[in-house]
């Protein structure tokens, strides 16, 4: 019987396991499906990781390595090349690998840290032929940075998510011609620093409010037709542009990978595509916690690390003293807010509670209000907010104490 089993050895799982150990949990196991720890960080060879957490700029593999080193000083066990097939309601994990075969493992607490996957061509129904040469940005990144192969020479990127932007620069540096980045929304889905450093610095045009309307090519991509879209994102006839290219990279969103979570019967949030969580990252199933991109998609790994540390500590606390009963405050999405994490807050002794959320449009000079019983009980000011950048507010205990059983996070645009 393990104290804690952590599903996933990427940044979330590593941080959660390390924090749980530090908080006193003893028998901890990380199960990782890949052949090494680190998750997607291993293929992110660019720098920019760790500015918040380590106060220095690291590459993805360096960031992962820091945690792998930290874990060496603990007794945390790791099973690599191992796939979890099922998590049951009573916290039994079924897993397989080629050495141990089929395993059933029990734990007092479980931390879900499976990360996310990329949206595909099929998910957004891009019409046209179905030749080779259409890849999600992350698959192309694996081929390039892990396996050492180029997937194409003339590239069009659909979607301005961060992986797509990073790949625009990376493919250019490896000698490919990146013709354009095309984004269906009127704003970019990626971080501003990536627009500047990955597109602008390499003179790669960004077409906002545009999309691919046709992919042509018999065996390999030969041509892509791009058109402007109207406000309801429908292509406008007569605005078509042709791009002669052999490759399309898709960076059209990430989806938390929650098949195991659903299988365990855990309550899901349709807006995050992740589990509904409390402030300590516990899910609706007692003793099962979730953290990182499996809960909601983060912009920066540093935030994943911090969130997962909270999950790890909470899991250790649960192993030690069991579930704490407390009144629950439900967090609702108000105007301009797409989702919040956590969705539920327990009234505990915590001095403050962090609430993360995303807005649904670009906003300047705005206010964020916490509303309870129709009254604003706290206000936070922001100069700039965008859907591509996760927002955070810190609600002090005093404010939460004054709130009813339901609070709403809303935004108000002043400008």
């Amino acid at each position: 019987m393990f104290d804690i089993i952590v599903l996933g050895g990427g940044p979330a799982g590593l941080s959660a396991a390390y924090s749980a150990w530090k908080a006193g949990a003893e028998k901890i196991l990380i199960i990782e499906r890949d052949k090494e720890l680190g998750g997607i960080l291993n293929q992110c060879v660019h720098n920019g990781f760790g500015l918040h957490y380590f106060k220095e700029e690291l590459t993805g593999p360096e960031y992962a390595q820091r945690f792998i080193e930290m874990l060496k000083s603990t007794n945390v066990e790791v099973k690599l090349d191992t796939m979890v097939l099922d998590v049951s309601e009573n916290k039994v994990v079924s897993a397989v690998n080629s050495v141990d075969g089929f395993m059933t493992l029990e734990a007092k607490a479980i931390i879900l840290a499976m990360g996310c996957r990329e949206r595909t061509r099929g998910a957004i129904a891009i019409p046209g032929d179905r030749p080779a040469g259409v890849y999600t940005a992350g698959s192309a990144q694996k081929y390039l940075n892990i396996d050492g192969y180029m997937v194409g020479k003339r590239v069009l990127i659909l979607g301005s998510g961060d992986i797509g932007l990073i790949m625009a620069r990376r493919m250019t540096l490896e000698g490919a011609k990146v013709l354009a980045c095309v984004e269906v929304m009127p704003y970019s889905g990626g971080l501003n620093r990536n627009i500047v450093q990955c597109l602008n610095d390499f003179d790669i045009p960004l077409y906002l409010s545009h999309t691919i309307v046709d992919i042509q090519g018999k065996e390999r991509v030969e041509k892509v037709i791009v058109a402007k879209v109207d406000e309801s994102r429908r292509p406008i006839n007569g605005t078509e542009m042709e791009f002669d290219c052999d490759t399309v990279l898709l960076s059209v969103g990430l989806i938390p990978e929650n098949e195991l979570t659903r299988g365990a019967g855990i309550e899901m949030d349709g807006r995050t595509n992740g589990a509904v969580v409390f402030e300590n990252m516990e899910t609706s199933l007692e003793g099962v916690f979730a953290c990182g991109n499996v809960v909601h998609v983060h912009d920066l790994v540093d935030y994943v690390t911090a969130e997962s540390a909270r999950a790890g500590e909470a899991a250790a606390e649960y192993v030690k003293s069991g579930e704490k009963n407390a009144e629950i405050v439900t967090v609702k999405n108000g105007e301009g807010v797409t989702y919040t994490v956590p969705q539920k807050i327990r009234r505990t002794d915590n001095k403050f509670t962090e609430v993360f959320f995303r807005v649904n449009r670009v906003m300047a000079d705005s206010k964020i209000n916490v509303v309870s019983n129709g009254e604003v009980i706290a206000t936070f000011k922001r100069e700039h907010m965008a859907p591509g950048e996760m927002e955070k507010i810190i609600i002090p205990k005093k404010i939460l104490d004054s709130a009813s059983a339901e609070i709403t996070i809303e935004t108000k645009c002043e400008g």
Partner: protein, 476 residues
């Protein structure tokens, strides 16, 4: 020199090869592509129709009902995913209720077992997601769903075990006869045979015209589809048709054998027989039309769109005929061709016998197929297969839970996978919600290792569809 050459390795050619392989005959199957099931067989609704659609006394009626019954048995014997889910034809008005009644009577005439007409309440009970506009429906419990490409692959693998040869990348350019011998040539190769069977799908008229006067014409009809995530898979319990029209059986909503939901097809004629592209306009049409049957499908859970080309013709039936001496057409095999496939094969063999082919059974032959499908095993069986072969303990495709062992099996099977899509068709790796985003690079690596070829040579699908174009750092 072969006794029989079959042109086309789709489900019709492969079913015929399978059924012929128990006889003492030297048989060869030719295909212009690099694998079996590369045409209509890999892109269709995947339905085993019950047989109430075709007009009575047509080949389609007889062979459909026969093929539907055979499919159930064959799928079991050959380890092909199949489910006997039944089908409904939904009526949304009194006029359509009359059509349903007509289909019922036709079904009875065609010998379709156990069909009935269900009241609206009975429909809603079986299908809670169906539109409340439905007034009644035809219910055909014998209909089923199948993996069409696995059906063809299973036929081909088993035929191959019995000695049938398969030659790929062989595009027939010319067919000549010298004495009693047919000579079939591509650009650079030729084979000889006593009998030829034309199962060339959308090109069956072109092949026919190499040996005889044209007496039919293929009018290719393209159909486009949505395939949705398993989350949507329970929106239909059986195959839901709308009332048929002149252009076909219309847009259906159906579960698939893999647990997904399939929605489609439309029908548009096409002058390019190979161009199976999808279009925004027609995908909209498919969605909107399907909405009439089931309105709560969430298309954000779409995982793939595809289109297939059906070998429709100007004849209102399958074209099964002796086109020239010792040359048989299995042509114009439109819907319900997949359902009728094994019966069409029997028909071909009957004709072969009637024109003098000597059909003596082999002393021993294989007529079944087994394969490991890891995720369907019990915990104990899982442990056992991993003990026997540790590769079954490594999951490569996380969405569909496909192991390295199954992928290696697919590559080393009798007609083994050579491409990423070939692996997908044989064991389902890459068929799930991430569409090979995660497992694609791993499958590529396994193909490269098992076939001892450079990763640069590994193809996604047809020749020329290479996944990688160069190494990042060329060695000096």
């Amino acid at each position: 020199m072969f006794d029989v050459v079959i042109i086309g390795a789709g489900v019709i050619g492969c079913a015929t090869a399978y059924k012929l392989s128990k006889y003492n005959l030297k048989v060869c199957v030719l295909d212009k592509e690099n694998d079996v099931a590369m045409g209509a067989t890999r892109a269709n609704s995947a339905i085993i129709h019950a047989g109430y659609d075709p007009e009575p006394d047509t080949l389609m009626a007889r062979l459909n009902v026969d093929g539907c019954a055979q499919a159930k048995e064959l799928a079991k014997k050959l380890s092909v995913p199949y489910k006997n889910v039944g089908s409904m034809v939904l009526a949304f008005s009194d006029e359509e209720a009359a059509t349903v009644q007509k289909l019922y009577e036709r079904g009875v005439k065609n010998g379709v077992p156990d069909i009935t007409v269900l009241s609206a309440e009975e429909v809603f009970e079986r299908e809670p997601n169906v539109s409340r506009e439905v007034v009644c429906a035809l219910w055909a419990p014998s209909a089923g769903i199948i993996s069409p490409w696995e059906y063809a692959i299973a036929f081909a693998e088993t035929a191959n075990k019995n000695g049938t040869e398969f030659v790929f990348d062989f595009e027939v350019k010319d067919i000549k006869k010298e004495g009693d011998v047919w000579e079939i040539s591509s650009c650079d190769k030729s084979v000889k045979a006593k009998y030829v069977i034309n199962a060339a799908g959308v090109y069956s008229d072109k092949i026919h015209e190499m040996v005889a006067e044209a007496n039919f014409e293929i009018i290719p009809s393209k159909g486009q589809y949505y395939l949705l995530d398993k989350i949507e898979g329970k929106k239909a319990n059986c195959t839901l048709f709308q009332c048929p029209s002149k252009v076909g059986k219309g847009v259906l909503v159906s579960p698939t054998v893999h647990g997904n939901l399939i929605v489609g097809p439309d029908a548009t004629t096409s002058d390019n027989r190979d161009k199976v592209n999808t279009t925004g306009q027609q995908l909209d049409f498919v969605r909107n039309t399907a909405g009439k049957s089931v309105s709560n499908i969430n298309y954000r859970n779409s995982i793939r769109n595809f289109a297939g080309m059906r070998a429709n013709s100007n004849i209102d039936d399958f074209i099964i005929q002796v086109a020239a001496d010792n040359f048989i057409d299995l042509a114009g095999i439109k819907s319900p061709g997949l359902s009728a496939a094994p019966a069409i094969a029997d028909e071909a063999i009957k004709i072969l016998a009637s024109i003098g082919a000597e059909l003596t059974e082999k002393e021993s032959y294989v007529d079944s197929r087994e394969k490991v499908v890891f995720k369907e095993l019990s915990a104990k069986e899982k442990a056992e297969v991993i003990k026997k072969n540790p590769l079954y303990g490594r999951i490569i495709c996380r969405c569909e839970t496909i192991t390295e062992g199954e992928i290696v099996d697919a590559i080393h099977a009798p007609i083994g996978a050579r491409t990423i899509d070939g692996v997908k068709r044989r064991c389902n790796a890459g068929m799930g919600r991430c569409q090979g985003g995660f497992c694609g690079p791993k499958v590529l690596e396994i193909i490269s290792r098992e076939l001892n070829i450079s990763p640069l040579e590994v193809k996604k699908d047809k020749n020329g569809s290479n996944v990688l174009v160069s190494e990042t750092k060329e060695e000096k």
